[in-house]
């Protein structure tokens, strides 16, 4: 977690101050903070409810019903279901202004929770024929609780809003099998979530269990990687393991391909423009020690931060795998599944909103960070409208050191005290954006 030089932080801060011609009145700021504070217990209760009843991607029916119920109480205009199980709600402010979208994702993961929380998930599901536990192991439960609370705060102060707020509760951020695609943010965009009324800006956050609790982290430009899936089938010729000369050995060819793919990054990609990763995460060939199999299947993931590099890497992967295979008389079938684009924070917007995060969490708890190679389908919204995505640190203070609360693991854990900072951040971003925009 390397942050930029303090001097840069200062520059960002000063720049933000200078263009911020209009400010949310100090009294209103205080009232909003107090209101958020007042709702903290409910915020935590909601998060615990979502946590106890997680649902897999595109199956978030009970989750979305719970959200709809509470939004109705606030008297918002609701669209449901959107993009399978999604919920979209519109809050019209007392004064004219831009349309600000706020987004939370809602899906859990096929992981069996391992801890002794009173609200631990006992839910089970069947995924691809396998029985599994279900767990909010990425923090989406927190995102929903935060956004519901934000909706309540903003509704109470709607007369002070200059514009409208669109609350987007999005299903299936974790992705679906290729056959079910498109889903999640991509499908929401296709179904017109950013239109009627047309969204001007979108904000979103992600809880980060490995970052200090209450810290806000962001980055102008590319924050999270584009992700694409990679499937390579090496087709050789089978033979007895004792007579490789009768074969075209797909295992040795596959190992040459794996090595060759690394040089796509190390030798052929302009890493100063953006980092890139090619990972082969699964390789399967054969079923016995003394049989040279006919084929080897590899699965991998590609991470990149620049559209040009992304296309270039795809092309080079194809060339590398197929030519190396041909060098030994084998063939390579390369399939690249286009998944999520880069989570790209509009630089002007990010620099403008940076001070809002500083105001929310304090300068010492706001960091400009290096990009991360994880991916996020929030990027589909950002392809359409300027968007700003940031991380909310939530490292549990009392965690045992041998159990790092890594996302997507059975030991994932967050510090609920961080949630309030998330609420304040989204409330402040909304107001600051509206007040700045109008002057």
């Amino acid at each position: 977690m390397k942050s930029y030089l303090p001097i840069r932080m200062a520059a960002v801060f000063l720049f933000g101050m200078m263009v911020a011609q209009a400010q949310v009145p100090a009294q209103l700021q205080t009232q909003l903070e107090q209101e958020a504070q007042r709702l903290e217990q409910q915020l935590i209760q909601w998060r615990r409810h979502f946590h106890q009843y997680p649902e897999l991607s595109n199956q978030e029916w009970k989750t979305s019903a719970f959200i709809v119920e509470h939004l109705k109480k606030l008297g918002l205009e609701i669209q449901y279901p959107v993009a399978k199980t999604g919920v979209v709600a519109l809050l019209k402010g007392g004064k004219p202004g831009p349309v600000v979208a706020l987004r939370a994702d809602m899906d859990g993961l096929p992981i069996t929770e391992r801890n002794s929380l009173p609200f631990l998930s006992k839910e089970r599901a069947t995924l691809a024929g396998q029985e599994t536990g279900v767990m909010h192991a990425c923090g989406h439960d927190g995102h929903m609780a935060i956004l519901l609370t934000v909706a309540e705060v903003l509704t109470r102060y709607k007369n002070d809003l200059r514009g409208s707020v669109k609350f987007i509760f999005q299903p299936a951020e974790e992705g679906v099998p290729a056959a079910e695609a498109p889903a999640g943010a991509e499908l929401m965009v296709k179904e017109g979530v950013l239109a009627n009324p047309k969204v001007d800006v979108i904000f979103g956050l992600h809880i980060q269990s490995l970052m200090p609790s209450g810290q806000l982290s962001y980055r102008p430009g590319s924050l999270m990687a584009a992700v694409d899936g990679l499937a390579i089938k090496i087709m050789g010729l089978g033979a007895h393991g004792a007579t490789p000369w009768d074969s075209v050995d797909p295992i040795v060819v596959a190992s040459q391909v794996v090595s060759g793919l690394q040089t796509v990054v190390s030798r052929q990609s302009e890493l100063t423009k953006g980092a890139a990763v090619v990972t082969i995460g699964s390789i399967h060939g054969g079923n016995r020690g003394n049989i040279i199999p006919e084929e080897v299947n590899m699965l991998g993931t590609i991470r990149s931060f620049d559209e040009g590099m992304r296309k270039d890497i795809h092309q080079r992967i194809g060339q590398t795998a197929s030519r190396i295979a041909e060098s030994a008389g084998a063939k390579a079938d390369v399939q690249i599944q286009i998944m999520y684009p880069v989570t790209y924070n509009d630089p002007t917007l990010a620099e403008r909103m940076g001070p809002t995060l500083v105001r929310t969490a304090g300068a010492d708890r706001t960091k400009v960070i290096s990009p991360v190679t994880m991916a996020e389908d929030f990027s589909f919204f950002q392809q359409q409208v300027p968007g700003f995505f940031f991380f909310l640190g939530a490292y549990p203070a009392d965690l045992q050191p041998n159990k790092p609360p890594t996302h997507h693991t059975a030991d994932f854990m967050i510090d609920e005290k961080a949630l309030l900072t998330g609420v304040k951040a989204l409330v402040n971003l909304t107001f600051d954006y509206m007040y700045q925009k109008n002057k």
Binding site: T243, T263, R267, R316, T320, A321, S322, I324, S327, A328
Partner: protein, 431 residues
Amino acid sequence: MKKIFILACISASVGFAQTNPKLQAKLEQQAKELEPKVIGWRRHVHQYPELSNREVKTAAYITEHLKTLGLKIQTGVAKTGVVALLETGKPGPVIALRADIDALPVTERNSLPFASKERTVFNGQETGVMHACGHDSHVAVLMGVAEILSKNKADLRGTVKFIFQPAEEGAPAGEEGGADLMVKEGVLENPKVDVIFGLHIQSISPLGRITYRPAGIMAASDWFSIKVKGKQSHGSAPWMGIDPIVVSAQIINGLQTIISRQTELTKEAAVITVGRMQAGIRENIIPEEAFMAGTIRTLDEGMQQKIHDKIRLTATKIAESAGATAEVTIDKKTPVTFNDPALTEKMVASLQKAAGAENVIRINAVTGAEDFAFYQKKVPGFFFFVGAMPPDQDPNKVPAHHTPDFMIDERGFLTGLKAMLNVTTDYMFMK
């Protein structure tokens, strides 16, 4: 071992026509008597070694001796070669016997009274010259064989062609030479040669031992070079170029899989060695091209061709995988030294008479090469090794051929002499 025993039984039971035992005993006796002279000749040749295609004094020395035997002599064959014909006037096969006569650019390091003091300039470098591969012995043995056979001409049949061949170690750059050139100049014609025999002295094989192998005994040696063309860039920005060094590394690994995965090693061994690699001039410049060169050793012509094709495929496709190109050149140098299997089986008994059955051993192929192979491409031939390691030598510390400490035990010559006489006369009298 078992196989040798079976072979011995076969040759005994089939009962090939053999040299009259009386004649054989006489030749053997004469060989013993001639041994001191053979050693003397070898010492002379050893003391005055000459490099490939420069064996002028050596050829003159040989010619002088052959003249005393009354043979028909051709000199200046394939530059400095000498060919002599012994015609018995009786019908029978034409048998060629070959000795190679060139020395190496090695500076001798021992205290022999006949150590070479010759010096020359080779590839622009001053160097000593030394018979560091034992060709001096080959010359002396064949001179002895010529003398004994000439003396006993009346008892023999057919024709014997003595071939003293230059430049076995390879002609100087830009020159032709050696067995290849001798064949081109018609050494196997007029009269047409039916069979050819040759031997090589071996410092690493015990004194008195003869070793052989049917089929490929010494490897074909081909040279290859690969030029990988990439695109130059600064070392800090590899994405701006195409790195021919990383591509070359991938190619070198890929080439090894031709042997390990794609070659039928139970048929014969094979070797691909990249012995040379050159690229770049500075740490922080990715060069435009990389050059590598190596040798390919094979023991079977079919495998040789396949491996050549696979080298081309492997190098060009791996280069393309990174956007580079590879230019592959394969230079066929020396073919497999291939002992005609039927001929080999027939001649094993002749070797056993020369060295004793227990001293004739079938060996594995060696991956060194020998231009005797060019004769064997044209006519059936048999090439074998004669041991000359001194009995008190620690076998683990034998100075290798081609080194300044190379040393042989001259008592090995008699075994060589007898073996050559036996294969010649046995073949002559075979039906």
